[in-house]
Every structure is written in structure tokens, then in C-alpha cells.
Amino acid sequence: MLLIHCPYCEEARSELEFRWAGEAHIARPENIAAITDEEFAEYFFLRNNEKGLTYERWRHIHGCGRFFNAARDTVSDRFVMTYKAGLPKQPVPPAEKVSAIAEEKTVETWEATEGDAR
């Protein structure tokens, strides 16, 4: 069960209070009525589904009710940061990035061989 820091409540709470809400920073096209079928499929269906650092949305649905954004490593499930909705994609601090990737690598080996020791 994840522990998620809500940028509005300024506190980390149990995942039980939250609902995941998909990849972040996918803006609804302003001229949506005019886009092509391919563009629509891209907007509505296609997702990065990153292995590693991902930007995603959560809603503190049983808390303050706010949607917000998070940067998380999908291999370690570690949150790098959370930030309020409406803010642009926040860069991951270089140190975090390195550690996120390092962690991904270690865990990757672990999972790939189901517990192969170094």
C-alpha cells in the first residue's frame, strides 16, 4: 500500500484515500472537434506506460478531493515528487533521477532473475 504525499493536504497519506487517474500532462486538444482520427486515438488511447520514471495523475478522492500530479518510478514504485494540478511537468532533480535509475537497474536485475544475488 503506497504512501502518497498530497500537495494540497501537505501530508503523506495511505493509498486508500487516493485514486489513480492515468498519465499526466496529456492536455485535451483545444480544437478537439477538428482533430483527425489518428490524433484522437493518440490523445485518448495511446499511453507511454513507462518502465521507470512516469508522470501520472492521482486524485485525493477521499481526502481533499483534488487532482494532482506525481513523478514515480514504476519499477520501485517510489515517488520522486508530487505537485499541484495545473503546474507544468516538473523536472526531476538530477540526484533523484540518478537514484531512480540506479534503483531501477538493481531491481530490474532482481526481478529478471527472480532474486539473483549480485
Binding site: 501530508e11 495511505s14 478531493g65
Partner: protein, 185 residues
């Protein structure tokens, strides 16, 4: 001929519910007036004045004055409870500023949980840290109690008010009753 005033008898969702243990007392709170208040930061001063209390701006805090309590639920959302004369909708309307006030007096029921085991009883179903350091007197939060959503307000070191939607109130009461029993062990 139909009796015009025949409808004005209230049937409370937790009427007849009581329970607890040697460590926890559980009771249904008397009816209260409640509004869900929504407004932007720029209009808070006017609304605070109209309501007669300072709407809290800090997450997880509440403010109380003259029988009214305002609970911070979100950055633009408060649950205002009036246990006195009422008039919340009118008061909010009199502020003259942009806001949304919706009467939810009957939407919620409240359960009062008190006694030395109160926080343990609630922790039977609520995952929040209810230590006094993290959840002091006056702290409040919307959260989850087992399978239902509640709003939790700490009214004293060993007393909480649990606000819950009425159709979930018997479930919440039942869960708290089991929690109360376990908290006494």
C-alpha cells in the same frame, strides 16, 4: 384532508443506536445544520465574517465559534457545522461574494466517539495516524473508515466526531462498535 404539517417529523438515521465498551463511548450526535462551502481564497474574509468564524486555511485544521465549526476539507472546501440556531445558508448568502453553499444537513449523520480508547477504536478502520502529535485536538480530515468515507474531527484529546453519509452511518457505527470492543482489551 391532508395534514399540511405532517411531514415535519424528523427520523434520524442513527436513532436508537448506542454502543461502546469500557474504553469507548459511542453515540449518535443530535441533528445539526451543515453546509458544504466552496469559495476561492479571495473571498474567504467576507465569508468568514458572514459566518462568524475564521475559515481555516491550513490543511487538516478546523475553527469553531458560537456553536459553529468550520472544517478544512480541501483548498477551497469547508464543511461548516452549526449545532446551534442554524442559518448557515442565509449567512453565507449574506457575504455577497462568489461562493457555493449547499445545504447538506441531512446528508450526513455524526457519531461521537469518546473515551480513552477512542483513537484505537477509530484505527480499527481508519489508516490515519491519530496520535496527538499528528492529529491534535481540532484536527480534521476527510478519510476512509474501512469501506466508507468519513470526515473525522478531533474535538478533545479523547473525543472525535465522525461525520458520515447517512446510508453509510449504520455501517460506520457497526465498525466503530467492533473497534470500541477491541480497544477495551
Amino acid at each position: 384532508m391532508a395534514k399540511l404539517g405532517a411531514g415535519s417529523i424528523r427520523t434520524l438515521p442513527l436513532a436508537g443506536f448506542h454502543g461502546g465498551s469500557s474504553a469507548v463511548r459511542l453515540e449518535a450526535a443530535p441533528p445539526a445544520e451543515r453546509i458544504s462551502l466552496r469559495a476561492g481564497a479571495e473571498d474567504m474574509a467576507a465569508l468568514s465574517q458572514a459566518l462568524g468564524l475564521d475559515l481555516p486555511v491550513k490543511p487538516k485544521t478546523s475553527a469553531a465559534a458560537k456553536g459553529r465549526t468550520a472544517l478544512w476539507l480541501g483548498p477551497d472546501e469547508w464543511l461548516v457545522i452549526d449545532e446551534g440556531k442554524g442559518g448557515l445558508m442565509q449567512a453565507a448568502a449574506s457575504s455577497g461574494v462568489l461562493h457555493s453553499a449547499v445545504d447538506v444537513s441531512h446528508r450526513n449523520a455524526a457519531i461521537l466517539v469518546s473515551g480513552p480508547g477512542a483513537s484505537r477504536a477509530i484505527n480499527a478502520g481508519c489508516s490515519q495516524d491519530l496520535s496527538l502529535k499528528v492529529f491534535p485536538v481540532g484536527a480534521c480530515s476527510r478519510t476512509v473508515l474501512a469501506k466508507v468515507e468519513i470526515v473525522l474531527l478531533r474535538t478533545a484529546e479523547d473525543a472525535f466526531r465522525v461525520e458520515v453519509w447517512r446510508s453509510f452511518s449504520d455501517y460506520a457505527f457497526g465498525l466503530l462498535a467492533e473497534g470500541a470492543q477491541d480497544a477495551a482489551l
